[in-house]
Amino acid sequence: MTNLRYDDTEEALRANLRAMLATHSPWTAVLARVAGTEEPYDRDLWDRLTGELGLGALAVPAELGGAGAGFREVAVVLEELGRAVAPVPYLGSVLATRALLSCDDPDLLGQLATENRGIALAVPFSAAPGVPVHPVAVWDGSALYGTVTTVADALAADLLLVPATDGLYVAQARAPGVAVAPVVSLDATRPLCDIVFAHAPARRIAGPDATARALTDALTAGAALLASEQVGVAQWCLDTTVGYLRERRQFGRPVGSFQALKHRLADVWVEITEARAVARYAADCLATGDPDTELAAALAQAHCAAVAVHAAQECVQLHGGIGFTWEHPAHLYLKRAKSAALAFGSADRHRSTVARLVDLPAPTPSVSG
């Protein structure tokens, strides 16, 4: 039977990671970075996470030099990174890893795991599982031409996995012919970029069919795992709001004693409780290769995106004026939550997928009125 709890290993991983993030990436540091440094990623933190905790290769099989853990652990990592809105390219690296696992390219995977090289899948962050992405063109089987917009985590990558007309290619991100241009992102803690390939040298690692499968697998994993990040975001928002309302006094009493606010926070708690179960289910399906994975991933994004947005909106609202300022971290979570709602396709698209998979057909458009 599917296991929706966190097991002891997962709880230990969570505790380690949370402690490291508390020390090395408090929200004040994230805010300072967002507010104006040149470097959008926290490279020191990323080095620690990949070096000390081995997160970069968490999902790479042990025989290829990876940590050999599963997607359940990856999900716990994402939950904690979401809770800290940590500016590290972890999600992008998981996505690329999942694509490579489907391509069966053990050399490249092994290289990634042992050399800790950054890698990203060059597709728009909004690309949804099962929807064809616009491929770049190929010249003579060895050079790429074209543009991919709004890519997540590619700014930090050494290697790019690029869906092209006749298969999946790997290119050096800093090679001549590759121009990576930062984008002003709604969520500045997850930098996005546009990539222009103009005769960029590249090597083909999979044919068209394997590419389609690898993309679907990667984007499905992205949708399934992002749900855990969303749970982390939502939980931080709830915890922080509860903490604030316990202390803040108005009208001669703690604001948290006002029943209307209590009931709204109780509702957020119920939503998070459900979102966590959904996210755990998605991670467990992914980890065990359950045939329900496609549904679980669609369910995850049909449900958890709105929960994170709602929690973040309530966090801003119930902090009152202070929550509307740049100096308070609430907006980092609001922007993360709202951006994540667009990642891997909107909830609306995932609901269509759910409907297809569970046989709830849309009306056939015949009658009007």
Partner: protein
């Protein structure tokens, strides 16, 4: 032989079945099953169990079902099995457990719950039913309401005020009320569906011997909490397969009747399906977490979501049906044996579901509990305690 109870149980069931004919005397079979500790395996030995982990129970039930053994008709005695039994287990004396648990489990004794009062409402602790000591007895006077099964019940679990000079929560004591005692009068209470599932119970000079007191004098509120937390889990938390509840009914209508489909309704239906599945997974996750422990305030979330979903889904169903949604089946006053949501009209489901957020702890009370006991938000300023 393994000492893991999961390994031992199938053997115990097989052994039991060798000795007792499932096709024989029904009551005898059930009593024997209780005595063998195969009733609720997580209960102590002697109280129908084997002190085994709670999650092994389905394994035992499945095995008995497989051979066509009679069951204890659990839906006929939901209050007894879901709420009273855990309360007796935790707060009852050995004598009370020995006397009451077996006939409860076999279904010989139906139980009801005598907590709610007309004037107290959601403020359960504001109850005014009095129990006054008179020698070795207690004499009870007062009125209870929303008592399902009172007209069939042998016993009721009763809260009454035994002191008025202390805080309102401190003055309450819990009793087992003999529903056959003189002075107990049960009247049907008709609800907006036209049916009367519930009753009003009038208690006039009802004498209860002190050995029917459950827990200490003045400790009734603590006893009631066990009952109530189990109630919420019982109401919301039954393990259901995907599409096992109302959502499955609507989904089947959708699949069977293409002429009802519109784009707007499609979006609404899929949203409801997603929410129902999320709630189902949350209930499943809670059940996995509680596999060994007792229900805490988290169970409130499951009951809260269950009520909201039942209301939204049944409301959607009525609108989906269009013209047929204007028509009801029957307003006749009836006394149904159990809440029947699946075989009557959508309009009945819609109306009956309104009660889901009132009965067994209103959704407002559950939100208070979550806010205060789970989130730790401050209580409201109160003048009554």
């Amino acid at each position: 032989m393994s000492t893991d109870p999961g390994d031992r149980l199938p053997g115990l069931v097989a052994e039991f079945l060798r000795r007792h004919d499932p096709a024989g005397d029904r009551l005898g079979f059930l009593r024997a099953r209780f005595d063998a500790g195969l009733a609720w395996v997580h209960y102590p030995v002697g109280s129908g169990g084997l002190a085994a982990p709670r999650h092994l129970q389905p394994l035992v039930d499945d095995e008995f079902a497989r051979v066509g053994a009679p069951d204890n008709r659990p839906r006929r005695n939901g209050i007894g099995l879901g709420m009273v039994a855990p309360t007796l287990l935790r707060h009852g004396t050995t004598a009370q457990r020995d006397r009451l648990l077996r006939p409860l489990w076999t279904g010989e004794d139906i139980w009801c719950q005598l907590f709610s009062e007309p004037d107290a409402g959601s403020d359960l602790a504001g109850l005014t039913t009095r129990a006054v000591r008179d020698g070795g007895d207690w004499v009870v006077n007062g009125q209870k309401v929303w008592t399902s099964l009172a007209h069939r019940a042998r016993w009721g679990i009763l809260l009454a005020r035994t002191a008025t000079d202390v805080g309102k929560h401190q003055g309450i004591t819990c009793f087992v009320c003999d529903m056959t005692a003189p002075g107990v009068q049960v009247r049907p209470l008709r609800q907006l569906t036209g049916e009367a599932e519930f009753n009003e119970v009038f208690l006039t000079d009802v004498r209860l011997p002190d050995d029917l007191r459950l827990g200490g004098v003045g400790e009734g509120w603590r006893v009631a909490r066990t009952t109530l937390m189990n109630e919420r889990v019982a109401i919301g938390g039954a393990p259901a397969p995907r599409e096992g509840g109302l959502i499955g009914l609507v989904a089947r209508t959708w699949r069977d009747r293409p002429e009802l489909r519109t784009a707007g309704r499609h979006d609404e239906l899929v949203r409801l399906w997603v929410r129902a599945e999320a709630a189902r997974l949350a209930a499943l996750r809670l059940r996995q977490q509680l596999a060994t422990g007792e229900p805490g305030p988290e169970g409130s979330a499951v009951k809260l979501a269950f009520a909201e979903l039942a209301q939204r889904i049944s409301g959607f169903e009525v609108e989906l049906l269009g013209e047929a949604g204007l028509r009801h089946d029957d307003w006749t006053m009836r006394r149904p044996a159990e809440t029947d949501l699946l075989t009557r009209t959508a309009t009945h489901r819609y109306l009956r579901a309104r009660g889901n957020s009132i009965e067994g702890g209103s959704s407002e009370i559950l939100r208070n509990i979550i806010a205060e006991r789970v989130l730790g938000l401050p209580v409201e300023p109160r003048s009554d305690r």
